[in-house]
Amino acid sequence: MGRIWTFGDNVDTDLLAPGVYMKGPIEELAAHCLEGLNPDFAASVRPGDIVVGGKNFGMGSSREQAAQALKTLGVAAVLARSFAGIFYRNAFNLGLPALVCDDASTLEDGALADLDLALGRLTVAETGVVVACDAAPPHLQAIVAAGGLIPYLEVKFKGAAA
């Protein structure tokens, strides 16, 4: 069970990972994640919470700290009507599921919900409303299951060496 944090369309990578904090450690960067839209987000978000965006979530830079900041804060998944391509790849590579959800805009900020990643279903606790998401392609599901691209490749390299 996690809290839903809603943001609008076109959440960009400068909001997720502000350039001025890019030199420092990821924890410091994560403390400023999305502060331009919600100054309380980084301090209040809890592990297992779900970030919900509108169209084109994660647009802008290729910096994967945008996804890593959310991962560092314990965000379990991002649901959005659509994702920017590089953010989408980065999220899965870091083991942060990014699920396309046509009905993302119907979700209310602050609601508690339960996400079933395997089925791509989000159930809102209070109302019982079930919101369906597109399942990720099998290729990306395998990467998330391994814990990200590097652990996934580790298995491949070890397999090749054996």
């Binding site: 350039g19 030199k23 331009g36 802008g60 830079s61 870091l94 490749l153």
Partner: protein
């Protein structure tokens, strides 16, 4: 290499042909996920060594082929504090350890340096560790941006996966008016199509307007395919491309064969008339907030900035110089110029462009990503307003969260510097003529 016939029954886009070649197959259908062999991987000091080094160490491998990796330091240059100095030192040490020969240290911005030094060629499949990697598509290669983990995987294996995108064809016909440039084309497209209009598909530019553009102007088009949300921008190579690559010391190869079939299936096609396009300005905080310059506000501008991979190539500096020749920067504003590479600085010094700019009162900054990304010298204070030739005006990108960035062509930035407020460059150009 494909063992199949080079003649395919199904008509293909240029992007499909390049990806099929890289995947070693005859045909790749849109939506199909394929693994492609990489011709070249480009990384910079911010997303490069400091991020991929620990990942490669964890995998227990080095780069798959040091001759196919180009490293450029451009984000934290020159070092301004111990953190940036440390990042640059790590970059240099790692490059040496990996025996990578193509290392351009403080020589300019990666997207400009890469073709300047002859690294790009038509038909190649290239990954770049930066979101403006679509710039390379101007040279007829399929080049797209990836994050650090993706890049580590690519560097370890020499391969990466791709879900074959469709192509959106953007056709421009007619001649651009004086004082109107590729940047105005892109701001107009951002307004028309939106920042998700590219939908992670290939944005291919065509038409006689595009054919008449220089390579650096074509680079601006492909560069800002990123702002349209495309996976990459692409322009089919022609004589202009081949000559440019040849002069840069690269090998254009069999460039003429890299073109899409006439009847290749497209996601969409859009047609635009260049003759009716005037200067465009994007208001804060999105490139999609663009419109005709006549509709922009006329409040005072604190800073004018000509810089970045998008807006500080030789053509861009020459555009600004045409406006600034014999004029001075208004006392109420400041004009800062960061040429996109040291080679461009040398060329601009040789042809007199640099003297024109500095005599007008422009302040020169080091070549690098700098203020565009809020990294280097020239960041904005709370509430300040900036007019920039860069690609992005997201909230807080160039400094303080409450600052405002407007985007325009180098002509428009120069005219704005002269007036101290957003100004149409065309009357100044007409006066000078």
């Amino acid at each position: 290499m494909s063992v199949f016939s080079t003649e395919s029954a199904q008509p293909q886009t240029l992007a499909q042909k390049i990806v099929a070649r890289a995947a070693g197959v005859d045909h790749v259908a849109p939506g199909e996920i394929v693994t492609c062999k990489i011709n070249l991987a480009m990384i910079h000091d911010s997303g490069g060594p400091r991020r991929v080094k620990p990942l490669l160490e964890r995998l227990g491998v080095g780069v798959w082929d040091p001759d196919k990796v180009v490293v450029v330091s451009d984000h934290y240059v020159p070092a301004v504090d111990q953190e940036s100095a440390g990042i640059l030192k790590l970059t240099r040490d790692w490059v040496r350890g990996q025996a990578i020969k193509s290392f351009y240290d403080q020589q300019g911005i990666c997207h400009v340096v890469l073709p300047e030094r002859g690294h790009l060629a038509p038909g190649h499949f290239v990954v770049g560790g930066d979101s403006h990697s679509p710039t390379g598509g101007a040279f007829g290669c399929f080049m797209f941006g990836v994050g650090a983990t993706d890049m580590a995987g690519a560097l370890a294996t020499g391969e990466t996966w791709l879900r074959m995108p469709e192509t959106i064809l953007i056709n421009w016909t007619g001649a651009l008016g004086d004082g109107v440039s590729a940047k105005d084309i892109m701001l107009r497209l951002c307004r028309e199509l939106g920042m998700d209009g590219g939908d992670y598909q290939v944005v291919q530019y065509a038409g006689d307007t595009i054919a008449a553009l220089s390579m650096t102007e074509r680079m601006t088009l492909c560069n800002m395919a990123a702002e349209l949300g495309g996976i990459t921008g692409l322009i089919a190579p022609d004589e202009v491309t081949a000559t440019h690559i040849d002069k840069a010391g690269g090998d254009p190869g069999d460039w003429a064969k890299w073109r899409g079939d006439d009847d290749a299936p497209l996601r969409a096609r859009f047609d635009f008339d260049a003759g009716s396009l005037g200067p465009q300005v994007a208001a804060p905080h999105s490139p999609a907030n663009a419109g005709d310059i006549a509709d922009a506000d006329r409040d005072a501008i604190d800073q004018c900035y000509i810089g970045a991979c998008t807006g500080a190539k030789l053509d861009d500096l020459q555009m600004a110089a045409r406006v600034l020749r014999g004029r001075t920067v208004a006392s109420t504003t400041r004009l800062m110029i960061a040429p996109a590479s040291t080679r461009i600085t040398a060329q601009a010094a040789a042809d007199g462009t640099l003297a024109t700019l500095t005599e007008a009162g422009a302040i020169l900054l080091p070549s690098g990503c700098g203020a565009c990304a809020g990294y280097g010298a020239g960041v904005l204070a709370e509430g300040e307003r900036c007019m920039a030739s860069t690609a992005r005006n997201f909230k807080g990108r160039m400094g303080a969260k409450s600052s405002f960035v407007y985007l325009g062509s180098p002509y428009t930035v120069a005219a704005t510097a002269v007036h101290g407020r957003i100004a149409d460059p065309r009357p100044l150009l007409a006066e000078s003529a």
